[in-house]
Symmetry: C2
Subunit: 280 residues, 2 copies
């Protein structure tokens, strides 16, 4: 079996992973001729179609000729469409929910069992995570990291449903030796006065918003500390405090949420802050 080689003219190496492909797509699209750029944009918007379509179908979808598709593939470092499709197809299996397992479970047990409920939370969690990439504004995130990296001490404020988020942040910051204080609300003790002008606050709260969180955030604002808000909608009361907002639209199952997306955002935030403070 002979390895396909990149087409002539372009010396670009063959992308070996989806990630590499999209990086290349991002950097090369600009300087592509009209029709190829047109197709590149179509691919960027519909990457899911590549693995399961023919050249003709994709060409029609992007309103270009099949031969343009061919040239595009070669430009991207593949020998042809089939070669490129192979990459997309190999990436495909990963994204499949494990129907076999779930079906077997449903067959052996009812559809009203704990594992059926778990399957639902899993599905919703996956969607919420994917959503996160859309709702979180990268600029705001970068800004949040900057502010937190600069802060003397980071205060973590979030109760009830949001407490897992702040407590995980506390763990992560401790591990990276970033000075952070977890406001626990314990014994109704007031920790507000610990917040100094050069500090920053991460406030997490979701509707229905916890009064205490808003209070502490307001106090922090008065003392001049920066506020990063992990919350659910732009109209959240934290907006009034000129907080940097990171939005998480967590979907519910019944009255509960899996918090998958919030935790994910929290840990990414923490690690970024840790990296910017320590290394770099």
């Amino acid at each position: 079996m002979s390895e396909p080689s990149p087409g002539p003219g372009s010396a670009s190496p063959t992308p070996e992973s989806m990630d590499a492909f999209f990086r290349r797509l991002g950097s090369a699209t600009e300087k592509l001729p009209k029709r190829l750029k047109q197709f590149a944009q179509y691919i960027a918007a519909n990457p899911d179609k590549v693995a399961v379509s023919t050249i003709a179908e994709l060409a029609e979808g992007a309103a270009v000729q099949p031969s343009a598709v061919m040239r595009f593939c070669q430009e991207m470092g593949f020998s042809g469409f089939s070669h490129m499709q192979k990459l997309f197809r190999s990436d495909y299996s990963d994204k499949w929910p494990d129907y076999a397992t779930r079906l077997e479970q449903l067959r052996e047990h009812g559809s009203d069992t704990p594992s059926a409920l778990l399957a639902e939370f899993v599905d919703v969690g996956r969607s919420s995570l994917e959503n996160l990439m859309v709702t979180v504004d990268p600029k705001a995130l970068q800004q949040a990291v900057d502010v937190l990296a600069r802060a003397e001490t980071i205060h973590l404020v979030g109760f009830r449903r949001a407490f897992p988020v702040t407590s995980y942040l506390a763990y992560a910051f401790e591990k990276m030796e970033v000075p952070a204080i977890l406001h626990s609300g314990l014994a109704n003790m007031n920790m507000d006065h610990l917040i100094r002008p050069n500090d920053a606050v991460i406030a997490a709260t979701f509707a229905p918003y916890t009064e205490l969180t808003l209070d502490i955030a307001a106090k922090a604002r008065e003392s001049g500390a920066d506020i990063v808000a992990i919350t659910d909608v732009v109209t959240s009361p934290l907006a009034r405090l000129k907080a940097i907002q990171l939005l998480v639209a967590e979907l519910d199952v019944g009255a509960f949420r899996a918090l998958s997306a919030s935790l994910c955002l929290a840990i990414a935030l923490a690690v970024s802050v840790g990296a910017q403070r320590n290394g770099k």
Copy 2:
């Protein structure tokens, strides 16, 4: 455009959805001849391959002839392989990460930014969630729910990295008015003696295991309480205590985990227990 019709001989209707397909697969497999049954089993185990493989590839994977694949498809109510593949391909698009959004972000900002890191945690979180359906044994889960629903009081034990899990459980149980105590480790106060024989303990710990969690679990076992373990591998020290094990294989990004899967399991567990205690 004319609809393909089922092959001759079989009067079975064409499955219109993945769900219908698998139902049919389940009920028909038994009475299929040898080679067709062999292929049916292969499909049940590798449904993700169908959309992105050729007949020849699938045939080889299942160690049957291409013509056997063809006969199988007709037996299932399709006109042929292409017809069946169409169903598998159309089911697919939902499950894709939103590359378009990520690309745009990467174009506007670098690849070394917080949002790039977030994207990584999102990806890993999705995989972990999917994994969860495989690692959690439905029988064990049902058993755990039974035990917890029967318990007088539920004790929640888990520190450091596992604390978000237990604190979220505490929130959920409170909301559903299930009597639960969150062991906080606060002031090193010993809450062990609160655990009575008719209680149950949910112990969450991941490698490297927290000593305190294991201690409390051991004390609980002595006093006769049941133990449900949320942990990462079967060889976890909690296994020795004859705990009911719920396994979560959370993937890392660097030294950190998103906890998405653990939280998901926790909330599904909590809601099931709540439902079984209150309603039903």
